[in-house]
């Protein structure tokens, strides 16, 4: 394995490890407990579940891998802050969207070659990408791994028995 492949293996392992930890936290809550905010006046757990499901689902078009499967989540969980949308999808539906979005990504990610990881994502023009070659799919993966870790740090605050 060359160093390029190794780096992609490392980036994917970091992504998967954060997904796994976040799954464990979501799974530790009952549907009713998902209504708790992560801190007083802050986002509810169910909002973060929908938010992460929507953000991960959006990676499909962002990375040029396909259409979103749950585009209807963008409105309530990306464009709107928590508490402003009256009827949110059920916990069951959001848990399924989060799981399916990650499974779909996993299938695509495992099929991408090193060359394909270094290709541009769809929000950068060919012209800008020529000047800024770091704006590639792999960079999106690194950035979204940090994003899930950021919210994991919040979710852990309401997990029973956890202090950090």
């Amino acid at each position: 394995m060359g160093k390029q492949d190794l780096f992609i293996t490392m980036a994917l392992a970091s992504w998967e490890s954060n997904i796994k930890r976040t799954n464990a936290v979501f799974d530790s809550f009952t549907d009713e407990e998902l209504q708790q905010p992560v801190a007083p006046g802050k986002n509810r757990i169910i909002y973060l579940l929908g938010h992460l499901a929507a953000e991960h689902d959006m990676l499909l078009p962002l990375l040029g891998l396909g259409e979103q499967q749950y585009a209807y989540l963008n409105g309530p969980f990306i464009s709107s802050p928590d508490g402003t949308v009256k009827d949110l999808p059920s916990a069951k539906e959001l848990r399924a969207a989060w799981t399916t979005a990650n499974e779909t990504l996993r299938k695509h990610f495992n099929a991408l070659s090193t060359e394909e990881w270094f290709m541009k994502h769809t929000r950068v023009s060919e012209e800008d990408f020529a000047k800024e070659p770091h704006r590639n799919r792999l960079n999106v993966l690194l950035s979204r791994t940090n994003h899930v870790s950021y919210h994991l740090g919040q979710l852990i605050l309401v997990k029973p028995g956890s202090k950090d």
Copy 2:
């Protein structure tokens, strides 16, 4: 720029971007405000400041780049949970340790060659590293970037005017 160099640039940019955001959050608090917990009963901001300073300072020996500069922070901020150590260093001292630790790392990071980033870190044996070549310095950088992002997600909860 080759792909190997490019992904090191990307990983370093991701690290620096998280450090910058975290600095901005710490700087937004007065010394008195650092005494607030990130959520009721959870770590105080000052504890996370000391924790991140100690963790980043520990990267020096972990990455084989030198001795720790602030090893006395390990006891109160890594081995001990918040609230169990009576006399913590002052806010001023912790802010300086956090800034200096990051500056020292930056100097070392910018001097490492691509080959050096793919060398083993000091907590893995030569034997294990031969079988697990991902246990290199670069992997530690990715993992510590997620770590700072995790705590940034918590700090943002107490930043005035922030909801996520």
